[in-house]
Symmetry: C3
Subunit: 354 residues, 3 copies
């Protein structure tokens, strides 16, 4: 069952790297309780949040000098999960070892792998340079929301919802009416959706952030990466100045970066950040843009939770697809294919033979 719910063989964001600067972080990821902390060398580590002895969450204890001490009988573990001390005895059995998960820091994020450890290849971690490049101002956070991860992916692949859900910030009629949309499968793990709203009225956030007084040429380029990283390159310039042809005259450009990590089957960690390329060093502008998007995403949360409740009450599946779901439908197929591949890989041999 679990195989059908999560794609396991993938890197997921586990935390903002800065989160564990202040101490260990306990978080459920893909249904597994995980403790993240810095080991003796200062490296970020992830262990199953269970003592090997009596299953007490290690997060009930404390981390001193990179060593985790269980709160119950004082067993101590290093960053690899190996037990290094049992206060009541000198002998440490070989199996006194807490399962560890590969954890890598990249672009200020900690990425975790909860599948087969030998398959974990750090080179496949998405390189979200906008999060760590000085040319961009950026701020991000984490929402933990009560819905299955796929509802969030679906939401981000169909931006016509901006018109109806986000009319106070980034949406207006033009986000739906007259927008030109193209979708392409880049490869088996990526889909790109390109949308242009030409000579369109700018939505409220764009007026506030970009100071537009007339019509704009606006773009939304959605980059989905299996299973659930979605970067949306967005921006606008004054209409007719050539943005679509690749000329950039003034205007604003932002990267809306979304990284969704299942917590359980019915809840998700929604990590996101907003980067902007205008006045990148101005913290006040970064904060103001972050707040606009924060307001916007909180509106989505209400949608997600109502959909999740509907699913749990028996709305068996999302049903009718519209033209605007063109990219989302391709994403769905690639997700289904990956889930099926994992299900087959983990099926017992006799089933395959039969």
């Amino acid at each position: 069952l679990e195989v059908a719910v999560f794609i396991r063989e993938a890197w997921y964001v586990a935390a903002w790297a800065s989160e564990i600067d202040d101490g260990p972080v306990a978080r459920t990821l893909l249904g597994r309780p995980v403790l993240m902390f810095k080991d003796a060398s200062g490296k970020a580590r992830a262990l199953l949040d269970r003592c090997t002895h009596r299953a007490l969450p290690l997060s009930k204890g404390e981390v001193v000098d990179g060593i985790v001490r269980c709160a119950y009988h004082g067993m101590e573990y290093d960053g690899s999960g190996r037990c290094v001390r049992i206060p009541s005895q000198d002998f440490i059995p070989d199996n006194a070892r807490v399962p560890a998960f590969p954890l890598k820091e990249r672009n200020g994020l900690l990425w975790i792998w909860t599948g087969e450890a030998e398959s974990a290849d750090p080179s496949t971690i998405p390189d979200l340079i906008w999060l760590s490049d000085q040319a961009w101002g950026v701020k991000g956070t984490l929402f933990t929301v009560c819905c299955n991860w796929r509802l969030i992916v679906d939401n981000l692949m169909d931006l016509t919802h901006l018109t109806f859900v986000h009319g106070r910030t980034i949406g207006n009629a033009a986000t739906t009416i007259g927008a030109e949309t193209q979708a392409e499968r880049v490869d088996d793990t990526q889909v790109r959706v390109t949308r242009w709203m030409m000579s369109a009225a700018p939505p409220p956030t764009y007026v506030r952030a970009g100071g537009f007084t007339g019509a704009v040429d606006r773009w939304q380029i959605i980059h989905w990466m299996l299973p659930s990283v979605i970067r949306i390159d967005v921006g606008a310039t004054d209409a007719g100045t050539g943005a679509r042809e690749g000329r950039r005259v003034g205007g604003i450009r932002m990267q809306n970066i979304n990284m969704i990590t299942p917590e359980t089957e019915t809840t998700s960690h929604y990590f996101w950040a907003q980067a902007h390329d205008f006045s990148p060093g101005n913290a006040e502008i970064t904060e103001r843009i972050f707040q606009e998007i924060r307001t916007t995403f909180l509106e989505d949360v209400g949608i997600f939770e109502a959909q999740q409740t509907a699913l749990e009450q028996g709305a068996s599946d999302l049903r009718l697809d519209l033209i605007s779901d063109l990219g989302g439908v391709q994403v769905r197929r690639l997700i289904e294919r990956a889930l099926k591949r994992e299900a087959q890989a983990s099926a017992p041999l006799e089933t395959v033979v039969a």
Copy 2:
């Protein structure tokens, strides 16, 4: 399983008609989420509370001029559930249609049919004239209570509980001791229980409402209609003035009307009203009587919820029947028969052949 829990092929009260005057009402009925609203012609309508596109409850959106607009991507539906607008495209697919439920207004109530639509015959809706006849003063409301619908039916069929649960209002020792009770099956869908308490002390509510100073002849005539409408014709006159023989000399008469609609397997919508034939136009008296019965029914709610908890903890069934359950036992048999009939009707063919 569901077949065994609810009788589907029946009309149930979905709302007081006045409820949707102020706007749409979303309510779970027999396990199904339903949105009720007025269509463009002012007619009350009931749709499954789900958008066809991504299952968002339509009740998250709004109704403008009788058209429901989904809050997510703006799809619009008319009162029949037919999609009439998709903002992001011109083409409207045939299957963009929200399931609709037959909904009929009668006596100030909206009655819904959640079974096979072609079986819905409005002529079988109970005609509760006391709710709309000027000769009666009436006020009703809705309690949503945490128990299976059958516990409420059972409660109303055995009025000896008035003595123990409702001693502050409509019960006293005479409601149990010396009451004469007869039960008869009117037909396959109706049971009538007739109770007379002759030369009995009047209970507190009767003293307050009827001004009785001595003994009364009091009646309770319980009319049950499959599955869960129960009207109780009650009243009293001064003792010995001939009420039982059909002479009515002064006194008071009321209709206690109960309409129970399952919300889920373990919760119920308990619609009820109290009508009185004395000073029918006096709103103050109507209100005072309503408050007496409201107090009374809130006492029952505590009983229902404790019984439900007991059932969920494994009290496998209501067990011992008493003589006072004579009517309730007949009702239970007719309910079981209807449930069995529906289970057979919905069983797959091969099962029937075997």
Copy 3:
């Protein structure tokens, strides 16, 4: 399933005898709702907390002169569960009988048997004389905690946790480091673990209660009785005065008495008392010691509940055993054996034959 969860054929503490002096007590014990009250002769009785008629918990009603009256239709039951009055009819059916459980008072406790009634032998009730002997000052209470009963047993069999969980009261480094531990199976229903901490620093509670200024010889003798009564004989004298050889020169001695009764599979009633043999008649000292242990046990509650959550999230079992679990492992084997015996006794015959 239930067989595997609880040992049914055993006496369990249901209440402190004093609890029902003030009126009936309703409590779920081994998954069964139980009402305890004094019958007409003043004897403590335990009935299933369900009316035979419509399953209403009898605890919703009242007990007058030893007779329980149901709050719904007024049926009355005596201490044996026999119905003695049905207000609405003269005839009392034979099956109007609420199941009763054997209940015995011993040492100020009420002990219940929820297994086969004919197997209930009061002579097997543990004789916890320290609870009722004038030579001991004693005070006890009840914690109802959110964990399976076996987690509490496990906790009490391995006292190295005192060092890490109870450093503010009864634990210090010496409770783990250098403690000498022996475990022995007394018989099929008893295990004894003996621990000596020689020439050790006294922990805070011992300093406060015993006035020790130097090192002590401290003992902990854990007596486990199937399924879940654990008495711990503890104490200390000034180091080197011969306590281990059986000489008692001053110092303090206490009996820590723990009686665990499953409420449900995931919650437990944890009855406990602390007795002391110094100044036994001094209520102030009794109270002070009680408060020390109360503080201590509340620290354990946090551990229990975190373990239970871990178990429910899939920590399939307590796993690695340490040397300090020597006694606990023997206890676990005897519990498993008893559970298996009951499972076999209740298995249908054909299964045994096959």
